[in-house]
Each structure stands twice: as structure tokens, then as C-alpha cells.
């Protein structure tokens, strides 16, 4: 058991298990930063997975498959953008609806192309290649860890760097953060917050698409119904615990990935009912979120006691006297959005 936990295989396989969670977490990160909760990442991944693997099989090109998976991810995100930003529905409800849609849609696509409803193992995909660097990959531990990984491993590292740079060092990143933190302030300097949110959702879709592609074109080489298995949601949990930082998010995604692999790998070394082991990733997510919530509440309580004058004072501001202030404020906001949009 101990041998198993500290084996090289465990270390490396955990990364493999963590990658789809990581992409989901990054997808959640970028949309959350823009102030939109996208709970449809799960669904986006599943549609991306089926589209990617089928295109990869029929075109005999992993690159084309990957591209189509990403496009499918973006398309799913844009459905959410359309309903929550244009039609102004509740993004949670739309997200739930889209998740349900995705469950059916992915099987429908599978059925209409292959005529089967279970999985596409009959039409195996051309897998996304590994980046194996000769000689370097033979270094013990490190070789397997870094130099014999899927291409998407490096894409994930690139995404972490890219997200950090985007958020910290670019105007778009500033807009995204400000839109998430204080949309009114953003609108007041002429930023079209809806466009910013839509852009963030598009990036979110790209990342979810990559996560889906990894599942059906690298982790496995075919799509099977329900293969995302909650990874989209676990990703959202990892992001919440990473508190908006790409690197912390990466850490927690790895942690969840490790638990995920443990649940699979331990079945061979532990005499334990595998049905129970399979619940471990989800149980772990709940436990982790509880710990996170407790820590966060304690921290906020402390911050409150430290008394931030500006915020407190704003609460104590005399209300502007005009009639029906709140109503007018709301109206003004929508008007602002309209005028900026046009």
C-alpha cells in the first residue's frame, strides 16, 4: 500500500488523472474571474469529447479532432453566453439545462454517426501524441514525469502561464477581473461588460474543449457515455479552492487527480470493495470543499474584525436622496449596458 502510494507510477498516473480536472478548473477560473459561474463545463467537456474522438477517427487526424473538440467546447459556452448574457436568464439554471442537454446530445451524436449508444470503441481515435524526448525521458522519475507526457500536459502548463499573464499583464485580463469584481465600476469607464463576459466564456469553452479532448483522445481513445463522470464539477471545486490563482488551482487539481487515480489503482493492491473506492473522488471533493469553506469563513471573520474603513464607510454612506434610488440604479445599469453594447 505504502509502496503503491510512493511509486513512480502513482506520481505519473495522478498527473494523467489530474489533467482533465485541471482543464475544467482553468475553464471555471476564467469564467469566474469575469463574474459568471459556468456550471456547464461538465457538459461542454462531454460534447467536446465525442466530437473530437469521432472527427479524429474519420479524418484520421488527431489535430483536426482536437480542433473540433475545442470548437465544440466554445459552442457549448456560447450557448450559455447567449442565454445568460443576451436573454438574461439565470446562469445556474441555464447551466443545469445545458448539462442535461449535453448528456443527451453527446449520445445522440454518437448514435447518429456510429449507430451505437454506449461507446465509440469500434471507431478508435487517432490519439493525441505524447511528447517523448529521447534520452531525457530515461531519467528516472523525472523522465516519466516530464519528458514522456501527452502533448496536452504541456498545453496545460502553457495554459497556466497564459492565464497568469493574461490576468496580470494585459488589458483584457484587467477588464475580466474588474468585470468580475465590480461591474458597475467597469461600466463607468466605458467597458462593455457583456462583451468581456462573452470573451471569458469563449476562453472557458476552449479549456473545457481541451479537457474533453484529453478524455477521449488521450486518456482513452474512444468516447463512452458519461465518461466525464463529474470531472467538470470537481474542476469547479478545485478552482474554488485555488481561490482564483492558476497555480494553486493546479495544485488542487493534482490532489483531486491523485485521489481519482488512487480509487482506480488501489483496487489492485487493496482488498476493499471497488464500488466504495469509486466514490472516493467525489467524497474527497465534498470533504475538501467543507474544509475550504471553514477556512475561508474564519479568514473572512478575521478580516472583518480588522475593520476595513473604506468598505465600512461605504455602507454607512448616506443614501442618495433621489426617488426610488435602487430602481433607478438598476435601470441605469441596464441602460449603460445597452448604450455600450450599441
Amino acid at each position: 500500500m505504502i509502496d503503491f502510494l510512493f511509486s513512480e507510477t502513482f506520481l505519473i498516473s495522478s498527473i494523467t488523472c489530474a489533467l482533465p480536472i485541471l482543464f475544467a478548473a482553468f475553464a471555471a477560473l476564467i469564467s469566474n474571474r469575469a463574474g459568471i459561474v459556468n456550471i456547464n463545463i461538465e457538459g461542454s467537456m462531454s460534447v467536446a469529447a465525442v466530437c473530437g474522438t469521432l472527427v479524429s477517427h474519420f479524418a484520421q487526424s488527431w489535430a483536426l479532432g482536437l480542433l473540433v473538440a475545442v470548437v465544440a467546447g466554445v459552442a457549448m459556452s456560447m450557448l450559455l453566453a447567449g442565454s445568460s448574457l443576451v436573454l438574461k436568464t439565470n446562469s445556474f439554471l441555464s447551466g443545469i439545462a445545458l448539462n442535461t442537454l449535453a448528456t443527451g446530445l453527446s449520445v445522440y451524436i454518437l448514435y447518429s454517426v456510429l449507430g451505437v449508444k454506449g461507446d465509440s470503441s469500434a471507431a478508435a481515435a487517432v490519439a493525441i501524441p505524447k511528447v517523448s524526448i529521447p534520452y531525457l525521458k530515461d531519467i528516472p522519475v523525472l523522465g516519466g514525469l516530464l519528458f514522456d507526457q501527452s502533448l496536452l500536459f504541456w498545453v496545460a502548463i502553457l495554459a497556466a502561464v497564459g492565464l497568469t499573464v493574461l490576468l496580470k499583464c494585459t488589458r483584457l485580463g484587467t477588464k475580466i477581473r474588474a468585470t468580475g469584481l465590480n461591474p458597475e465600476a467597469a461600466a463607468s469607464v466605458g467597458i462593455n461588460t457583456r462583451a468581456v463576459k462573452a470573451t471569458a466564456l469563449a476562453i472557458c469553452g476552449v479549456l473545457a474543449g481541451l479537457g474533453g479532448a484529453f478524455l477521449s483522445m488521450s486518456y482513452l481513445h474512444y468516447f463512452s457515455a458519461g465518461m466525464v463522470a463529474g470531472r467538470g464539477f470537481i474542476g469547479i471545486a478545485a478552482e474554488a479552492m485555488g481561490m482564483g490563482s492558476p497555480w494553486l488551482t493546479m495544485l488542487f487539481a493534482y490532489l483531486f487527480g491523485a485521489v481519482d487515480y488512487f480509487a482506480v489503482g488501489a483496487q489492485t493492491v487493496l482488498a476493499f470493495p471497488y464500488e466504495l473506492l469509486n466514490t472516493l473522488p467525489y467524497l474527497m471533493t465534498i470533504i475538501a470543499l467543507v474544509i475550504y469553506a471553514v477556512v475561508k469563513n474564519a479568514r473572512e471573520k478575521r478580516a472583518k474584525q480588522n475593520n476595513k474603513p473604506h468598505k465600512e464607510q461605504q455602507e454607512a454612506d448616506p443614501q442618495p436622496p433621489e426617488l426610488l434610488q435602487t430602481e433607478l440604479q438598476e435601470k441605469k445599469e441596464t441602460e449603460n449596458e445597452k448604450s455600450v453594447a450599441s
Binding site: 494585459t170 477581473r177 474588474a178 458597475e184 465600476a185 448616506p318 436622496p321 433621489e322 426610488l324
Partner: protein, 507 residues
């Protein structure tokens, strides 16, 4: 006229029928500090928001003789107009430099932010305009006056030459106000045009060159500040001719129902928002809190109504300690509360009139878990008729005008024989007809032997209703006036501004 900015016939009617601006004409000269003065709800902010492009209205705007369409704040920025809102538009988590350059970030050719240069520019701006701001400090951690400086710098960094400030001193201490005025004068000397929205007479005299006075959505006139006295401005603002006296019999005070001893509430920045306040409220009288808003009245009401438990001192209502009681128990004991913000805490705007009217005691009008709808509807219908609410039981609150909405709240709060009625700004933003009805109801409550605690920033209301007045200034009571007829508005104003304080306060 050689006005730099000229606004002609600005008319703004909100969708709910409120006329905020009614053919307002306005002229502002280049390089002056111009005050837009008026009472709450006179339309000062609205007309400035129109100039800043944040509100669309009928009428014409000329800048430097040229007719301009200002359709958005961005368009206003392009014309060199910048506005500092009363509620700051800052991202609290961003440091000062990032807020100042927010939306106009400096970038290098590759599209990355030139952070160092922006920080350096921020420092330079601070020096240029003599403002002390730490470019790296997140705005959420700043004091209000520093955050305000960031807002001003933000406007200046955008190249504005016309600055609009909406009630900039409302949240500042006298020292901070002094500092702000120094900076504004400095801006004026450098050729900027400054417009400030205010209702503080002293500040107009201190700072401004000219003043445009507004009343009830109309411009009453433009005056050279040097030519008018504070009393003149105040008379023009209030328009004494509209003041109508309520007929009421002398008060007949009875037993004490509410006793507050040494109430102290911590405020922001280590200052006490309420500082050792004691007073009593008796049955059969209307006790009024007068004072400029933000001088502790809100915190006192918070403590008295039991909504805010974070205070020292004691609040005893009918012999019971409020702090230990739940809101429902306090209400059952006979306290009713007409809150200041009717939309936020006075009602549920998305429910209908009936649901709002029964919100306080629906649980006591149940049989086996079901509402006794028939008698409740009958009662509510009666309230609608008695208070002349223009609406039906099934009508959504959000569809009502401010005055009608307030009547629904008052009808609910006066229902069921309260002992003490707290009326916090009960007639703010309410039309004249409804004001009279509300005043009559409050006086009727008093005559029926109830205690009424009124909070008002409207001097007319204070004089019309009060039997006793407590004047608040910076968290303390500066005067307790027993004979309301013995003071005039001017005297009251002195107490409100803290210029004078009564030596012995028997509240």
C-alpha cells in the same frame, strides 16, 4: 452669454412618471468653481448625470459654443468632462494605479501593460495635484478621503478639464473637506472648471464662485456667491412659500416607553458614529431627530430597532432590554418601524400589496397552517381605502410610485396598535399630496397616545411635526429643543452644523 458649458431646456422624466428635471437651463463659465445647490430630490444629480452622459434627457448641451450630443460617459470623457460619483466607482481589490488607469491602460507594443510606467505616472499625478496616494495600496483598504483622491486622479488622468463632483464632502471630516477644497482651488488655478453638487451652504460660500440653485426639478436662478448670503441661498433652496404648516393640538406626553442610555456605536476609522447618546421617548409626543444625514441618526435607529446589536450602552423599550430580544419579539412588544430605505428594507418590491400588508402578522392569522385569507383580504382592502393607496391587492409593489409604496408600508406599520412608531425619513421622495397624508397619520398616532420617533433631514417636516427636537451632529446631540416654536431654521441649522451646542441637554 459666453458660458463655457451651456445646458438648455434639460427635461428628464423617469419611466415611473417622476419629473427629475423640468426645462433646466444652466450656464457654467470656464475656470470657475460652480455649485449646483438644492434640497434632496431637487434634480441636481440628474442634471449633472445628463451632462456626463450617464442619463439621457431632452434638451441641448453646448460646450464652448458648439452643440454636442453626449450619449455616454465615454463621449463625455472625450469632451474633457469627468465625474466623481458620490458612490465611488473603484475596484476595491485593485491598487490605486490600476484604478486610475482603468480602461486607459498604457501598453507596450506587444499589448502587455506597462505597469512600472503607470505607477510612475501615478506618482507624478499625485505630486502635480498635491495629493498623497500610495500607488500600490488596494483601494478597498484606503480611507474614504484617499479613495476620493484616487477617483479625482482617475478623472484627471483621462485628461478631463471639467470636473463634476457629486456631494464630495458628504463622507469627509471637516479637516478632509478643508484639504479637498484646497486641492479644488489648486485645480481652478490651473485652469480647470469644477462643478460641485451640494446642499451645504457653508461650503458654497467657502469654495464657489457662482451657484445655480435648483428646486423641485427646476432651476431657480444663478447667483454670484459673493452677492448672496447663506440665508438667501437657503430660502431659495427651500422655497419658503411652499412650506405649509400642519394644524396640530399641543402634545400631551405621558409615560416613557423608550429609554436610551449612553449609546455608543463604533464607526469607521476608529471614530464613534454615535458617541454616548441618551434620550427618552414618551407616549403622546413626536420626538424628532434632526440633523444632516450621516451624523449618527442611522446608527441610533439601528440600535433602537434591534437591527444592530453591536453597541455599548443600553436601549430599554417598555422595561425590556432590546439587545436581548429578537426582532419579532420587539415588534410584538409594540414597536413599529418605517425604514429609511423603502425598497431595500421597507417592503418586498416583487410581492404584491396584499402580501406586503400582511407581512407582519400573517403567522397569527392562520388556521391549521392555512392563512385566513378572507378576513386578511378584508382588512387589507380597508387599509387601501383608508390610506388612499392607488392600487389593488394583487398589484405588485414595484409597479407603485414612491408615495404609494410608502403608504403601503405605513399602513402596515400602523396596523395592530403599536406603542412606538419609528418613522425614518417617512416622506423622502414622496409627492406633496402623500406627504400631507403621511403627516396627518403620524399626528393622529400621537393624538391616540402613541409615541412617535421621527428622523428627518427635511426642516419643513421637522418644524411641522415635532413636539421635541434632538439635533445630531457627529454622533452627539448638540441640542434638545423642547419648545419647537422658539427656534427658527437658522438657529436649528447652527446646531446641525455643530456651530452652536446647547449647554444643558435634557433629552
Amino acid at each position: 452669454m459666453n458660458d463655457y458649458i451651456r445646458m438648455v431646456g434639460i427635461t428628464k422624466v423617469y419611466p415611473n412618471g417622476v419629473v427629475a428635471n423640468d426645462h433646466v437651463d444652466l450656464g457654467i463659465a470656464r475656470g470657475e468653481i460652480h455649485a449646483i445647490a438644492g434640497e434632496n430630490g431637487a434634480g441636481k444629480s440628474t442634471v449633472m448625470k445628463v451632462l456626463y452622459g450617464a442619463e439621457r434627457a431632452e434638451g441641448e448641451i453646448y460646450i464652448d459654443g458648439e452643440k454636442r450630443e453626449i450619449s455616454s460617459p465615454k463621449a463625455a470623457n472625450a469632451l474633457g468632462i469627468g465625474m466623481v460619483y458620490q458612490h465611488f466607482m473603484l475596484v476595491n481589490e485593485f491598487p490605486a494605479w490600476q484604478n486610475i488607469f482603468f480602461g486607459t491602460e498604457l501598453r507596450n507594443k506587444a499589448g502587455f501593460l506597462k505597469k512600472k510606467e503607470m505607477i510612475a505616472r501615478t506618482k507624478q499625478l499625485c505630486e502635480q495635484y498635491d495629493m498623497q496616494v500610495d500607488p500600490l495600496q488596494p483601494c478597498g483598504q484606503m480611507s474614504v478621503s484617499t479613495a476620493q483622491k484616487v477617483e479625482i486622479l482617475k478623472v484627471l488622468a483621462r485628461g478631463a478639464t471639467i470636473l463634476i463632483l457629486d456631494e464630495p464632502t458628504a463622507v469627509l471630516t471637516p479637516q478632509e473637506t478643508e484639504q479637498l477644497f484646497r486641492q479644488l482651488r489648486l485645480l481652478k488655478e490651473s485652469g480647470f472648471t469644477v462643478i460641485i453638487i451640494t446642499h451645504k451652504l457653508k461650503e458654497i460660500k467657502q469654495l464657489c464662485d457662482r451657484v445655480t440653485i435648483m428646486r423641485q426639478g427646476k432651476s431657480v436662478g444663478v447667483y454670484n456667491v459673493a452677492d448672496v448670503t447663506e440665508a438667501d441661498i437657503s430660502r431659495l433652496m427651500v422655497g419658503r412659500d411652499v412650506a405649509t404648516r400642519m394644524e396640530k393640538a399641543p402634545a400631551n406626553p405621558g409615560e416613557t416607553v423608550l429609554e436610551v442610555q449612553g449609546l455608543t456605536v463604533a464607526g469607521p476609522g476608529g471614530k464613534n458614529a454615535v458617541d454616548g447618546v441618551s434620550f427618552k421617548v414618551r407616549t403622546g409626543e413626536i420626538l424628532c431627530f434632526a440633523g444632516v444625514e450621516g451624523n449618527g441618526q442611522r446608527e441610533v435607529i439601528g440600535a433602537v430597532s434591534g437591527l444592530q446589536k453591536n453597541y455599548t450602552g443600553s436601549v430599554v423599550f417598555r422595561g425590556k432590554d432590546i439587545r436581548k430580544m429578537k426582532i419579532r419579539a420587539i415588534r410584538r412588544e409594540g414597536m413599529s418601524h418605517i425604514p429609511e430605505d423603502r425598497l431595500k428594507s421597507g417592503c418586498d418590491a416583487s410581492s404584491d400589496i396584499f402580501e406586503n400588508l400582511i407581512a407582519l402578522d400573517y403567522d397569527r392569522n392562520c388556521r391549521a397552517g392555512f392563512l385566513k385569507l378572507k378576513p386578511l383580504r378584508l382588512r387589507s382592502q380597508g387599509q387601501i381605502e383608508r390610506f388612499q393607496i392607488k392600487g389593488t391587492l394583487k398589484q405588485k409593489m414595484s409597479m407603485l410610485s414612491g408615495g404609494n409604496m410608502q403608504k403601503v408600508i405605513i399602513a402596515r406599520e400602523l396596523q395592530g396598535d403599536p406603542v412606538l412608531v419609528i418613522a425614518d425619513q417617512p416622506t423622502r421622495g414622496v409627492d406633496v399630496g402623500a406627504i400631507e397624508a403621511i403627516h396627518k397619520e403620524l399626528i393622529a398616532m400621537r393624538d391616540a397616545g402613541k409615541a412617535v420617533l421621527l428622523v428627518s433631514a427635511d426642516l419643513n417636516e421637522v418644524f411641522n411635526l415635532s413636539d421635541r427636537i434632538l439635533v445630531f451632529h457627529e454622533g452627539k446631540i448638540t441640542a434638545a429643543i423642547k419648545d419647537v416654536g422658539s427656534v427658527d431654521e437658522f438657529q436649528l441649522g447652527n446646531y446641525m452644523l455643530g456651530i452652536e451646542t446647547m449647554e444643558e441637554i435634557d433629552a
